[in-house]
Symmetry: C2
Subunit: 79 residues, 2 copies
């Protein structure tokens, strides 16, 4: 139960950052390295989830992949 | 193996952000909501790890907790 709440929080945490970044286009303080690593790491989590057929892992990482990928896109576009 | 690389990448992804934030003190583009949710979620992952006695979960989330907590500290201090 604690694990489920933890998973939802860390997955949806990217959402307020996505909203802020789309609204303000202010990415100067955001680290390109962080989002390059996040998107790669989350992509590997997703591959791992597909490989072992674990639906919670697939769902959570699909959401995180789109959200952190959006932040990475804005960071690259503005730099 | 893919899961292990994924875990290392998503755990250490916060490190370039911590370095950038400490160097530049530029947190205007960083979302307070994101780091409030991250630190809470990672704290719950850590509690879950201690509860079930899973060492990889404890280690990875201890590192993430300190790193994302540092970003949250700088964000709160500058706002």
């Amino acid at each position: 139960m604690i694990g489920a709440i933890a998973a939802v929080l860390t997955t949806l945490a990217f959402l307020p950052q996505v909203i802020k970044t789309i609204k303000t286009k202010d990415t100067s303080g955001i680290s390109l390295g962080m989002y390059a690593m996040q998107v790669t790491g989350i992509g590997l989590w997703l591959a791992h989830g597909i490989h072992i057929g674990d639906m919670p892992l697939i769902l959570a990482n699909s959401v995180s992949f789109v959200l952190s990928g959006t932040i990475l896109y804005y960071k690259i576009r503005s730099s």
